[in-house]
């Protein structure tokens, strides 16, 4: 019981909007925080993080805001004469023009033969403007998803799913033997040798999503995956 209590105090502090999180002119407000007179207050609902003098709030919820360089997975929602309009779970529409598409595509080609309505595409954000987001699939690794499993999680949990230097996602890859691509917009593509392996990977990701606030999550995911894989071998 006592050990559990200690764990409780170890989980990080949650703050609500408007809450005073630091006082004095020593602190600098970071993301999710702002200065109000002598105090620094939270502007988002999330976890408080202190880094020296920088105070920031890591949000737990909210829609995905694209940034240049992000890898996202989107679905084609519209085909225009010079590209594709993609749905990437963000407040702004995103566009993949044919010049940014893999290989050479002429304007006279039937664009639906390359990416059709509803196709899932891994793409890179190459620009964020006030009216929308530009995507590209030119570089290696970005293309249409032909098979596999696509799941969606809250985009704020993506850093936890990836882990430090990709430790978490590599762990899942190792245990399940699946190929996994995590889009910054919370869409995750899983491709394994069997559907069972894909389902285990999905369960592990949902486990991370649910327990994203727990300390030492990597170890717990390891235990979780070991249990799952040994169950499978028994069968």
């Amino acid at each position: 019981m006592k050990a559990e209590e200690q764990k409780e105090t170890k989980t990080r502090r949650l703050v609500v909007p408007g809450e005073v999180i630091a006082s004095g002119s020593n602190f600098l407000p970071g993301e999710g925080a702002r200065r109000e007179g002598n105090d620094v207050t939270a502007t988002r609902f999330g976890i408080l993080e202190l880094e020296d003098r920088l105070v920031k709030v890591v949000a737990l919820s909210g829609t995905y805001l694209p940034r240049k360089g992000n890898v996202v997975i989107g679905s084609v929602s519209e085909i225009t004469f010079n590209g594709w309009v993609m749905d990437i779970n963000s407040p702004y529409s995103s566009f993949l023009p044919i010049i940014e598409c893999k290989g050479f595509v002429s304007k006279r080609d039937d664009l639906s033969l390359i990416y059709n309505y509803g196709d899932m595409v891994i793409a890179q954000v190459i620009g964020v403007k006030s009216k929308g987001v530009d995507l590209s699939t030119k570089e290696r690794g970005f293309d249409k998803l032909e098979d596999g499993l696509v799941i969606t999680i809250n985009s704020n949990k993506v850093p936890r799913v990836i882990g430090k230097q990709g430790s978490m996602v590599n762990l899942i890859k190792e245990y399940t033997g699946c190929e996994i691509v995590v889009g910054q917009n919370g869409v995750i593509w899983i491709k394994g040798e069997s559907i069972d392996a894909e389902l285990v990977a999905r369960e592990a990701i949902n486990f991370i999503d649910k327990n994203s606030l727990v300390e030492g999550l990597t170890e717990k995911v390891k235990v979780f995956l070991e249990k799952k894989t040994s169950e499978k071998e028994k069968k």
């Binding site: 909007p17 005073v20 988002r44 609902f45 737990l60 919820s61 909210g62 407040p91």
Partner: protein
């Protein structure tokens, strides 16, 4: 015959039993329920998301759109479903009460939709709706400078009361209506008034006193709202 003791035996500055829960609508980006005794409200927040028609878009910041509605079974006499003059007015004042705290400058050309549904009504529905909406907005990860708390205060006979019930709103002395209903909303830390409506008659000094009492009640609501948000942890 003055109103010396309240019908339900409460103190004059006491609200009904307040309950708040966050995360009640799974498909919404953020949601909350809030109740004052028999008055129950559910709020669901969607967005920020693209706003159509385009002429409503604001290129400087996102807009907040509220929609208040009472379920047809929420009152003793069946309410005709759909928008009405009353619900349009309340939607409008709710948006005005919440606007000072939401900071949507990071989301130009978008909309944040707030849907408030009253499932059970016993006076004070707009105040319960504002409390629920404030929680739901925080849950949806919308940047906010503060939370909003709301309560109705009133004068019944000659006494200032907090959180009137329907029976109290209909209080009569010698066949004359003697109840004044004043819904108020305060930003909780900034202590700024963001909603003030008045139905009935009241003297200036009494109104000042009513606002003070209302603000104190809002502070108690803040504690409950904060507790409710702390209980969700993750989306």
């Amino acid at each position: 015959m003055a109103y010396k003791k309240r019908y339900d035996g409460r103190d004059f500055d006491e609200t009904r039993k307040v309950e708040a829960k966050v995360g009640v609508v799974p498909r919404a980006d953020g949601s909350a329920s809030f109740s004052f005794g028999d008055t129950k409200a559910i709020a669901a927040v969607y967005g920020p998301r693209p706003l159509h028609p385009q002429f409503m878009q604001n290129s400087q910041r996102g807009i907040l759109r509220c929609n208040y509605d009472m379920m047809s079974f929420s009152v003793t006499e069946r309410k005709k479903p759909g928008p009405a003059r009353r619900s349009q007015e309340i939607s409008h004042v709710t948006a005005k009460a919440l606007e000072p705290v939401v900071m949507l400058s990071a989301f130009p050309n978008t909309v944040v939709d707030v849907f408030i549904t009253i499932t059970q009504a016993d006076a004070g529905t707009r105040t319960a709706g504002i409390n629920a909406a404030s929680l739901a907005l925080a849950h949806a990860g919308i940047p906010m400078s503060d939370l909003v708390g709301s309560v109705s205060v009133g004068k019944i006979g000659n006494s200032i009361c907090v959180d009137l019930t329907k029976a109290e709103e209909d209080y009569e002395e010698d066949g004359e209506k003697m109840a004044t209903d004043i819904p108020v909303a305060f930003t909780l830390r900034g202590k700024k008034l963001s909603l003030l409506q008045l139905d009935g008659k009241i003297r200036k000094d009494e109104l000042v006193k009513a606002l003070e009492v209302g603000q104190k009640a809002c502070e108690k609501i803040y504690d409950i709202q904060k507790k409710a948000l702390m209980a969700v942890k993750a989306h």
